[in-house]
Symmetry: C2
Subunit: 112 residues, 2 copies
DNA sequence: TTATATACATAATTTTCTTATGTATATAAA
DNA sequence: TTTATATACATAAGAAAATTATGTATATAA
């Protein structure tokens, strides 16, 4: 439960980037990966994750296939070609945002 | 206009930080300052700004007073003591968020 | 048998924006 | 002179994107 209001807006970008690095992932795996990489600080809630995945699929950025493992269904997501382009675009946007925010908040790391 | 979905959640922090640096500011002045510092890339809309200011005041972080300049009313905002503490808290949170996001998106500047 | 982990999903609600609209004065341009 | 732009506030309608709460179902550890 990230309780961090600043997470708003960055979820799609995080999902797309993970799928660029990992080729194919299923929802639960994404939550665990984010938890792991963020040292437990960012916990994706299902109520945010699944609708976000569905929207990215509806927008044509992700495609899916299912697989049964241990009698449980996993729904895997993979980037489409359009999704691949979208990652680049979203990452550029994210970098610009971070730069602007750091400038506005005076959080720029000292230039060396 | 900023159209940047990543701005979501950072507006309050931006306002509080500006008021930490500038002692007292009025709404329109804040929009111009943000525009200036961000090289015109971030345009605060009134529909976002004024409700945010009102909420920060209702939460006890800001206090107000009005002044008439050239027959036009300006509503100035200033940090309360509680607001002063809130800035520190929000900035810490913002820094943590930026760090996590950069890690997740592999945007960390190379460590030297 | 009970709690926790794995795995999906949706509904109700809240927060926080965008867009549109409204009021009003000052000043520069046509 | 009247029209556009800038200054200055505000709110309402609607959309986007979360949180919180539920719900279903299986596997495994206590």
């Amino acid at each position: 439960m990230s309780t961090n209001p600043l997470l708003k807006g960055s979820l799609q970008t995080i999902i797309l980037k993970l799928l660029e690095d990992n080729d194919q992932m299923y929802g639960y795996e994404i939550t665990q990966k984010v938890k792991e990489v963020s040292d437990g600080e960012i916990m994706l809630t299902e109520g945010a994750l699944y609708p976000a995945l569905h929207k990215l699929e509806a927008d044509g950025f992700l495609e899916t296939f299912t697989q049964v493992v241990d009698n449980r269904v996993r729904k895997y997501y993979r980037l489409t070609e359009q999704g691949g382009k979208e990652v680049t675009s979203k990452l550029t946007e994210a970098q610009a945002f971070i730069d602007q925010l750091q400038t506005l908040l005076n959080l720029k790391p000292a230039t060396k």
